[in-house]
């Protein structure tokens, strides 16, 4: 908080910055007029000219592709489970503020988030003209998230510490349950990866690559700084080779080559081939981000840990990596965001993720010339996912910051 006398009110500041001189005033007016006409044009197009039927009629296709209709309850169940887990994590985070600084149960940002979530759950299904029953599912899932958030916030303190320590395991467990629900098997009707599509496939490919490239990238970064020459050169070779090749060539290479490398039955499905290529690609970039984090940690940290008797793996796990990964966090999340966007490349090897779905929809003669509507929808969907990643990373950074501003 700066001193009030040092900071004039916003109105005064805007007036002096935008209309300080005749030249500035003229420039401001011209820019305002340009902005105004652009905004008007966009609104006019969006509300009057655009034909949103292309999105409304294909909303299921964009969401899950050709996933069998009678099996879609599995995806709804998974969404509900994810919402409950997210609400639980959110609530517990607030009910257990860090020991060295206070925290409200319902800070202002959380209140804004609740309003936004509720508004989205009401407005989007209505705008998509979904059936009332489906609309009710949106409401139900949002209500579940907020309810669990509220309950975890109020009663989180009473949970025993042992249970809390086990909670991080919930996420990998949920991922496995999710893959089981999506893929089928164990009593559920199998749904082959070829039938997955749209946002579902985009999120599967991105989350798979993000989860697996993380440990791989950390190992590569440690390998690159290792004292063992073979390990070091191997890591350098891998990182530089991957970073020197465009993703699209690697994707095509993966589709064609994995078939030769593995005997027929073992070669994974086309979807999984692409997901593995994405993983190996992202790991090389992540390794460089982690290496930058490792370089930022003073050698005295490892020396102190070693002189307390910790072995090198113990020192890396408890002292060096927690600090290095915190430093690398913003870069890593940047990598994850580009990875999410790179999944659009899967459409070029013929997979029906969001971009591939969009291309088939636009190829339908019934929706000729409706490209702008489709691309705008895609852009908004991607923006939502990336904004969520970015917000999460900033919250995590604040939580992990050992030196609060106070």
């Amino acid at each position: 908080m700066s001193h009030p006398a040092l900071k004039p009110p916003l109105g005064t500041r805007l007036r002096s910055e935008l209309f300080g001189s005749p030249g500035n005033s003229a420039l401001t007016l011209v820019l305002l007029a340009a902005l105004g006409s652009a905004a008007f044009g966009l609104l006019h197009w969006g509300l009057v000219q655009a034909r949103w039927a292309v999105v409304r009629a294909n909303s299921t296709l964009f969401a899950v592709g050709r996933y069998p209709l009678d099996q879609q309850w599995r995806l709804w169940l998974l969404t509900a489970l994810l919402a409950a887990a997210a609400g639980l994590a959110w609530g517990l985070l607030r009910s257990h503020p860090r020991r060295d600084r206070g925290g409200e149960l319902w800070p202002r940002n959380d209140r804004i988030a609740v309003v936004l979530l509720a508004a989205t759950a009401l407005a989007v299904p209505w705008w998509l003209r979904l059936e009332p029953l489906i609309q009710a599912r949106w409401w139900g899932i949002t209500a579940l998230l907020l309810l669990v958030r509220w309950a975890a916030g109020h009663w989180g303190q009473r949970l025993p510490a042992r249970l809390l320590a086990l909670l991080p395991l919930l996420w990998p467990l949920l991922y496995l349950v999710g893959m089981l629900l999506i893929n089928g098997g164990v009593g559920l009707l199998p749904v082959p990866p070829g039938d997955w599509g749209g946002l579902l496939l985009t999120l599967i490919a991105a989350s798979f690559a993000i989860l697996l490239c993380f440990p791989l990238g950390v190992l590569l970064a440690l390998g690159r700084r290792s004292d063992l020459p073979l390990l070091r050169w191997g890591s350098v070779l891998y990182i530089e080779f991957i970073r020197g090749a465009p993703l699209i060539t690697l994707l095509f290479l993966g589709q064609n080559m994995i078939g030769f490398l593995l005997p027929g039955g073992l070669a994974p499905d086309r979807v999984w081939r692409a997901a593995w290529v994405l993983t190996f690609f992202a790991a090389a970039y992540l390794a460089e981000a982690v290496r930058a984090g490792l370089v930022a940690i003073p050698p005295g940290q490892l020396e102190a840990a070693r002189s307390l008797g910790l072995t090198v793996p113990q020192a890396l796990r408890t002292v060096v990596l927690p600090q290095a990964l915190r430093v690398a966090l913003p870069t890593m999340v940047g990598q994850f965001i580009s990875l999410l966007q790179d999944t659009t490349m899967l459409s070029l090897v013929g997979l029906m993720e969001l971009m591939g779905t969009a291309r088939t929809v636009m190829a339908n003669p019934a929706y000729l010339g409706r490209n702008a509507e489709v691309y705008l929808t895609l852009a908004v969907l991607f923006w939502c996912c990336c904004a969520a990643l970015g917000l999460g990373s900033r919250a995590l950074e604040r939580r992990l910051d050992p030196n609060p501003a106070s």
Binding site: A305, R306, L308, G309, L310, Q323, P404
Partner: protein
């Protein structure tokens, strides 16, 4: 003054003889340095900068390797055997010039990390011990803060408590007060003094603090150009040194 000191015993905790070290760039940092430290003894190492005194004590817990000579710590000869190095490091604590506290852990976690992880002791029991140690270095109320929220003197006292929590047989101090503001030097030296007097801790201290050397050390050692030039009790070292190089050094710092 020295009557308050514990008399050192005959048991040799550190025995270094003829230690040579070359850095990878060819610099000959240690040129046949030798020193023996008995149990309960406080040895202060002084010397001009670049004389190899930090390098020397860092060889005692294998933070630096050496190419010639032998070092035996509490009966275990230092070699390249990693398990032996780990065994020695558990018994030898080290306090650094830059504190090297773990900034992502609270003060209490800094103390409990190694005993729980390395000695596999019960966490609750270690925490009780850690709080008692923090009490002894007069910062019990800071236990739940992070190192970045403490002053330099407080951080160094936490670092000493962190070493003590491993219950080491020997404590090495590498210029523990050089990075501190003058008004914080005293609080750290007092803690070290108490350790020597009340506990009879075996300590090897690299420092420029003459008063500490006079009042606490059993022996003062002068290093120059990678070798031990003079070893004498403090009263002799500061008033009537045998070597010309010691006199030249004392002229500069006194």
């Amino acid at each position: 003054m020295s009557s308050a000191l514990h008399p050192p015993t005959a048991h040799r905790m550190i025995e270094a003889s003829g230690v040579h070290k070359w850095y990878p760039n060819g610099f000959h940092a240690l040129r046949g340095a030798s020193l023996s430290v008995h149990r309960g003894e406080v040895v202060v190492i002084m010397g001009p900068s670049g004389s190899g005194k930090s390098t020397f004590i860092r060889t005692f817990n294998a933070l630096e390797d050496f190419q010639q000579g032998t070092i035996t710590v509490d009966g275990i000869a230092l070699s390249n055997d990693l398990r032996q190095i780990d065994a020695i490091r558990r018994e030898v604590g080290m306090v650094f010039q830059q504190f090297n506290l773990f900034p992502h852990l609270t003060v209490l976690e800094n103390l409990t990390l190694a005993p729980v992880l390395v000695r596999r002791r019960d966490r609750a029991e270690v925490e009780t011990q850690a709080r008692a140690l923090l009490q002894r270095v007069n910062i019990a109320e800071q236990a739940d803060k992070f190192p970045g929220q403490l002053s330099g003197g407080q951080q160094q006292r936490v670092a000493i408590a962190r070493s003590l929590c491993m219950e080491p047989k020997i404590l090495l101090f590498d210029e523990p007060t050089s990075a501190l503001d003058p008004e914080m030097v005293r609080e750290v030296l007092e803690v070290m003094q108490d350790l020597a007097r009340d506990e009879g801790m075996t300590m090897v201290v690299v420092t420029h603090e003459v008063r500490f050397a006079r009042e606490v050390a059993h022996r003062v050692v002068l290093m120059d150009h990678g070798e031990v030039v003079e070893e004498a009790p403090p009263e002799l070292f500061f008033t009537n040194p045998a070597h010309q190089r010691t006199r030249a050094f004392l002229d500069q710092i006194l």
